[in-house]
């Protein structure tokens, strides 16, 4: 498969104004295929946001020491790029940040979505068409004239997604985009991400520390202390419960439940990742055993 992003032997250290270095990433080798959906997991300080900022060129050699290469759409973004090349990379790799308030530039929803295309110097008629399409894509039709501050967190974040989509990017990085949202808002964003993925033309990278959000991805990368700790499908990753626990990361709640059942010898199938699978497996267990009592879960 053709890779949109290829990271080779990447190490990065933040540089303080006084010259001291703080290593953030060590010897990372990763590649992201076109149209794939990858979740990057890790604790605070595991280097996951740093990785995203390096790909998007928010962090450059001015901010720290970079070793290795990051190739985005065929260009090494750690090297010397002309302004136009850097601009083009940033258009191709969109980023949705954590705080919805700090991404919305304009005073109405439609003008905010139009901000990117306006910067690209598109024709107003074309911009209008994009705004309409993007609002539909994130399920926010009819909000064209709304003032951003009157929207809920989830709605604001969907506008931010629409604003990034309007640039027609090839890859979107969601940098903890759900962290500041309430459960409904989070649900709405995850649904939007899922729909984007299903359309298939955009590569999606989500950075999160919510395990439940990672189960829908094609692939999960776990970072720990600046290194790639695990890399595989959600099934491969989340069934290694002990390994995740060893770096004090959780698994989805339903997986945790069945892990405990398995440990107690009450369950022997494969560990479910989604609640509906879990419910099914649980129903099967109940049929077989008649009943489960809380003591079954004691470890």
């Amino acid at each position: 498969m053709d890779n949109i992003i290829e990271i080779k032997d990447l190490s990065f250290s933040y540089r303080d104004p006084d010259g001291t270095l703080h290593p953030a990433l060590k010897n990372i080798n990763l590649s992201f295929g076109r149209g794939t959906y990858t979740a990057v997991l890790g604790h605070n300080g595991s280097g996951k946001s740093t990785l995203a900022k390096l790909i998007n060129m928010v962090l450059t050699r001015e901010d720290g020491d970079i070793d290795g290469t990051i190739t985005v759409c065929g260009k090494d973004v750690t090297g010397e790029l002309s302004d136009d090349e850097a601009y083009e990379i940033q258009r191709r790799v969109g980023m949705v940040h954590q705080n919805p308030d700090n991404q919305i530039v304009a005073t109405t929803v439609e003008e905010d979505i139009a901000f990117g295309p306006e910067n690209l110097g598109m024709d107003p008629k074309e911009i209008r068409r994009i705004v309409t399409d993007m609002l539909k894509a994130v399920g926010m039709e009819g909000h064209e004239k709304s003032a951003p501050h009157r929207l809920s967190g989830g709605q604001k974040q969907r506008i931010a997604v629409a604003g990034v989509l309007a640039m027609n990017p090839e890859c979107i990085i969601f940098d903890e985009s759900t962290a500041m949202l309430d459960p409904q808002g989070r649900e709405a964003i995850l649904k939007t991400i899922d729909e984007l993925h299903r359309r298939g033309d955009v590569t999606i990278i989500t950075i999160t520390h919510y395990m439940n959000e990672a189960t829908d991805a094609d692939r999960v990368v776990v970072l720990n202390r600046g290194e790639v700790f695990m890399d595989g499908t959600p099934e491969e990753i989340f069934t290694q419960v002990e390994k995740l626990h060893s770096v004090s990361l959780d698994v989805p709640q339903v997986t945790e439940l069945f892990y405990k059942l398995k440990k107690a010898g009450k369950y022997s199938g494969k560990l479910p990742l989604h609640t509906d699978e879990g419910a099914e497996a649980l129903a099967g267990l109940l049929k077989k055993r008649g009943k489960l009592c809380p003591s079954d879960l004691k470890m």
């Binding site: 998007n56 928010v58 601009y87 940033q90 258009r91 969109g94 980023m95 940040h97 705080n99 308030d101 700090n102 991404q103 919305i104 530039v105 304009a106 005073t107 109405t108 439609e110 003008e111 139009a114 901000f115 990117g116 295309p117 306006e118 910067n119 690209l120 110097g121 598109m122 024709d123 107003p124 911009i127 209008r128 705004v131 003032a147 951003p148 501050h149 009157r150 604003g163 990034v164 640039m167």
Partner: protein, 278 residues
């Protein structure tokens, strides 16, 4: 609660005044200000007063709103009227008692000044603040000043700064509310003590607010760069401002008022006085 604040004093609507192009509105307001200060003859004042009245009636703004908007200037009105009436010493002496003497010119100047201030406030607020949203106004200013960018004035940047400021007012207000609650929960007392003490406790709000505003600014800058912002060069706009024939008509009409005011100024005080047989 604080989310529902309206910015400025804008009243949404679709009256003939609301729909005028913002650039034309700014020009109209400037022209009306010129006319108000140029007026000196009685007939000119009548023309001014009538045009202000017409603008007000067309805008659909309620009289209550307008009067409320005048409140801050009541003091100035009384003050200037008082001085004009009691300290002008020209014209005929109409009234004298103890040290108070009122001359005809004093009364006339006072009435003129009164009309002038009322017309000034009415026209500017009806044309601009009540019927134009701050955002549209910003666009209008940008549109009008655009020629200046040819000589290197950063018109676009200025307009963007204005509109981002407007965009962040509600966000920062919300944050002020949060910080106030948080500081109260930590025992900060905002309502008792000497003025100095209270002012000092406000620092507990301002410092975190400032820190957060700076954080907002940096993150917003990152987000803007991510969305391809490179300054005003080569930018297009979703909503193009379109000038209609009616907008031009409004401008012409306002120019007519100004011309009329200048022309009728020659028909001075004495003509009108003669008209009333004095």
């Amino acid at each position: 609660m604080i989310r529902d604040i309206t910015l400025g004093q804008y009243f949404p609507g679709d009256s003939p005044i609301h729909t005028i192009d913002a650039r034309i509105k700014i020009l109209m307001a400037i022209l009306m200000i010129v006319a108000t200060f140029a007026a000196s003859g009685w007939i000119s004042f009548i023309v001014l007063f009538l045009s202000a009245l017409a603008l007000f009636l067309l805008s659909g703004i309620s009289a209550k709103t307008l009067i409320k908007g005048m409140k801050p200037i009541v003091f100035i009105l009384i003050f200037t009227t008082f001085f004009q009436v009691f300290f002008t010493r020209t014209g005929d002496l109409w009234f004298k008692w103890w040290i108070i003497s009122i001359y005809s010119n004093g009364v006339f100047f006072a009435i003129k000044m009164f009309i002038r201030i009322i017309v000034l406030i009415t026209t500017t607020s009806v044309i601009l603040s009540y019927t134009t949203s701050p955002i549209v106004l910003t666009d209008g200013i940008e549109g009008l000043l655009k020629p200046l960018s040819l000589i290197g004035v950063p018109v676009h940047d200025f307009a963007l700064v204005m509109s981002i400021a407007l965009r962040f007012i509600p966000t920062l207000l919300e944050e002020t509310e949060k910080i106030t609650s948080a500081q109260k929960a930590r025992g900060t007392d905002f309502s008792t003590g000497s003025l100095l003490k209270r002012a000092r406790s406000l620092l507990a709000i301002f410092v975190p607010l400032l820190a957060s505003a700076v954080r907002h600014a940096f993150e917003l800058a990152d987000a803007m760069i991510c969305r391809g912002y490179r300054g005003g060069k080569g930018r297009t706009k979703l909503n193009q401002m379109k000038m209609h024939a009616s907008d031009i008509a409004w401008l012409v009409l306002t120019v007519c008022v100004v011309v009329l005011v200048f022309a009728l100024n020659r028909l001075g005080f004495s003509d009108v006085a003669a008209l009333f047989g004095r």
